[in-house]
C-alpha cells in the first residue's frame, strides 16, 4: 500500500498540485523506488506489483473473514462443492439445463451428498489417476509402465561441486607453485592444499560415479498385462534389462508404501513405511549383452486384503514395482515403476488397443 501510494503521489499527484515540499519529503519522492529505477516502464511495473500485492492480500483477508467461525467440516464441504461446481460446469457445457439446476439447489440448502442425485462415480475419490498408460501400449503385454527417474538431478549438484572445488584447487596450486618459482614460498598454503586436494579428488570421483550410474546402466522395460490393478487379481509381467553388464543379482519386487507429511515447527518433514514388500523375482548372477537383453516373463497375484492406492494432501499409500540390480564394476541401480491399485470391483474397463 505504501509503495503504491508513493508511486501515485510521486508520478501523478505532485506534478499536478505543484506543492513545495521540504527536502526530506522530496528525497523520498525522488528515490529509485518511487521512480521505478528511472526506467521508462519502471514506475508502471512497481505500481502494478504493489497493486497485485494489495489485491491478493485483500482477497486473503476477505476469505478468512468469511470463514470466521466456520467448522472444519463446513469449510471442507464448501471446497468439495466448489470442485463439484467446477466439474459440473464442465458437464453443463454438454448438458446446460439439468446439471446447473441441481448445483444451484445444492448451494441454497447447504446440502452436500444428496442421495437422490444420481452419481455414477466416474472417478474414484482420493485414488490417484493412472498415468496415461493408454498412450503407451507394450510390445509383449498390454501396457508399458513408466519409470520414475531418480538421482538424475543429484548429478548436477555433484558436477557443480566438483567443478567449483577443482577450480579453486587449481588456482591455489598455481599460486603455491609460483611462490616456489619466484623464491617466495608459502608453506601454509602448500599444507592446506593437501586436504583441499583430497576433497577435490573425492568430489570428482563422486561425480564420475554418478555419471557412470546413469550412463552405464541400460534402460529397464517393464510391461504388465492389465492396469490399474485390483486386489486378488492375477497379472503377467514382462521385465527386460538392456545394456552391457554383469550383475551379481537382479530383483523385482512389488512394494506398497505409506507416506506421511507432517510439520515440525516451520519445517515440513516426511516419513515412509513399507507396508508390503513381495519379491516376485530374484536371479543371480545375470549377464546382460547389447545383443542379448536379459528378459523374463512372470506371473504374480496381488494379495486380496490389501489397501488400494490412496492420495491426499498429507498422506498417501503408493504401489510400485521396483527393479534393482547389484553390479560390479558399475554401481548398483534401483528403478521404480509406479502402479495404481483400485478398490476391488472398481476397475474401469479400458484398453489401449
Amino acid at each position: 500500500m505504501f509503495v503504491f501510494t508513493l508511486v501515485v503521489v510521486a508520478q501523478w499527484m505532485m506534478p499536478r498540485i505543484g506543492l513545495e515540499l521540504p527536502d526530506e519529503a522530496r528525497l523520498v519522492l525522488d528515490s529509485d523506488l518511487a521512480r521505478g529505477g528511472g526506467h521508462q516502464w519502471g514506475r508502471w511495473i512497481v505500481a502494478l506489483l504493489s497493486l497485485a500485492s494489495i489485491v491478493s492480500g485483500t482477497i486473503g483477508l476477505g476469505y478468512r473473514l468469511m470463514h470466521l467461525g466456520f467448522s472444519q467440516e463446513r469449510i471442507s464441504a464448501q471446497k468439495g462443492l466448489l470442485s463439484r461446481l467446477g466439474a459440473g460446469s464442465a458437464i453443463a457445457r454438454n448438458k446446460p439445463s439439468n446439471a446447473q439446476g441441481e448445483t444451484e439447489n445444492d448451494v441454497d440448502s447447504e446440502l452436500v451428498g444428496d442421495p437422490h442425485t444420481v452419481d455414477d462415480y466416474p472417478q474414484l475419490p482420493s485414488v490417484p489417476r493412472a498415468p496415461a498408460l493408454d498412450e503407451s501400449p507394450g510390445e509383449r503385454l498390454r501396457y508399458r509402465l513408466a519409470s520414475v527417474s531418480s538421482g538424475h538431478s543429484s548429478v548436477f549438484g555433484a558436477a557443480w561441486l566438483a567443478l567449483m572445488w577443482n577450480s579453486v584447487c587449481v588456482v591455489l596450486l598455481a599460486v603455491a607453485i609460483s611462490g616456489w618459482w619466484y623464491n617466495r614460498p608459502r608453506p601454509v598454503l602448500a599444507m592446506l592444499l593437501v586436504p583441499f586436494s583430497g576433497v577435490a579428488v573425492w568430489s570428482l570421483k563422486s561425480f564420475l560415479r554418478q555419471v557412470r550410474g546413469i550412463a552405464g546402466v541400460g534402460s529397464t522395460v517393464v510391461e504388465i498385462s492389465d492396469h490399474p490393478l485390483e486386489p486378488g487379481g492375477t497379472y503377467r509381467l514382462f521385465v527386460m534389462q538392456m545394456g552391457r553388464m554383469r550383475l551379481r543379482s537382479l530383483r523385482v519386487e512389488l512394494v506398497c508404501e505409506e507416506e506421511s507429511f507432517f510439520r515440525q515447527g516451520t519445517d515440513v518433514r516426511s516419513d515412509q513405511h513399507v507396508a508390503l514388500s513381495k519379491e516376485l523375482l530374484a536371479e543371480s548372477p545375470v549377464r546382460v549383452d547389447p545383443q542379448a537383453h536379459w528378459e523374463q516373463q512372470l506371473e504374480f497375484e496381488l494379495p486380496a486384503n490389501v489397501m488400494h492406492s490412496f492420495s491426499a494432501t498429507n498422506n498417501s499409500v503408493r504401489w510400485r514395482l521396483v527393479v534393482s540390480g547389484e553390479a560390479r564394476p558399475w554401481p548398483s541401480f534401483c528403478r521404480s515403476f509406479p502402479l495404481v491399485v483400485h478398490p476391488p470391483l472398481m476397475v474401469p474397463p479400458n484398453s489401449p488397443r
Binding site: 467461525g69 463446513r74 451428498g113 489397501m307 494432501t313 498422506n315 499409500v317 478398490p343
Partner: protein
C-alpha cells in the same frame, strides 16, 4: 447427542447407501444456534490430518424449530467407492458421522459415530436370457420316494454290518 446407524456392525459397502439418525436431547431449543451433520473421512497417524466431507447438512435455528430436536432426524446418503477404511502403520483412514451442535455464546459440542467402509461384495451372477432358457431345458432328476429307495438302503446297511463283524 445420539447418533445411531442402521447396521449393528457399523460396516458399509463402498458405493452403498448409509442410513442413520441423530438426535439432540437435554438441551432447550432456544439454546441451540445451529447443528451441522456430516459424513466424512479423516486420517489419523503421524502425518498431518487430511479430511474430506462426503455429506454435509447445516440446520439453523428456524429449521431446527421446524424439525423439532426431540425426534430422531434421518441421515441418508450414498457412500462413495473410496477411500476404504484402513489401519496402517503411519496412517489410519477413519470414516464417521459427525454431529456438531453450536450452542449460544459460541460454544460447540461434537459427537461422532465411526463406521467402516469396506470393499463392495461381488454381485450375484446374472445369467443371460439364452443361458437361462438352456438351463430350463436341462432335465432335473426327480427325487425317488422313500419306499422305492428303501431296499437299496437296507442292502447298504447289511453290507456295512458284515464288514464290521
Amino acid at each position: 447427542m445420539n447418533v445411531s446407524l442402521c447396521r449393528d456392525d457399523a460396516t458399509y459397502a463402498a458405493g452403498g447407501f448409509l442410513k442413520a439418525s441423530w438426535r439432540v436431547s437435554r438441551v432447550k431449543l432456544e439454546e441451540l444456534s445451529s447443528v451441522e451433520v456430516s459424513v466424512l473421512w479423516y486420517t489419523e497417524g503421524k502425518g498431518d490430518e487430511d479430511l474430506s466431507v462426503h455429506y454435509f447438512r447445516r440446520y439453523d435455528t428456524a429449521q431446527l424449530r421446524h424439525l423439532g430436536i426431540e425426534s430422531h432426524q434421518p441421515i441418508e446418503c450414498r457412500l462413495p467407492p473410496s477411500p476404504l477404511s484402513y489401519r496402517g502403520h503411519l496412517l489410519k483412514i477413519q470414516w464417521g458421522i459427525r454431529v456438531r451442535v453450536f450452542v449460544e455464546e459460541g460454544r460447540e459440542v461434537v459427537a461422532e459415530h465411526p463406521f467402516y467402509l469396506i470393499a463392495r461384495k461381488p454381485e450375484p451372477v446374472v445369467f443371460a436370457e439364452t443361458l437361462m432358457a438352456e438351463l430350463a431345458q436341462v432335465p432335473i432328476p426327480a427325487k425317488q420316494p422313500l419306499h422305492r429307495r428303501l431296499p437299496a438302503v437296507i442292502q447298504r446297511w447289511r453290507g456295512r454290518a458284515g464288514r464290521v463283524s
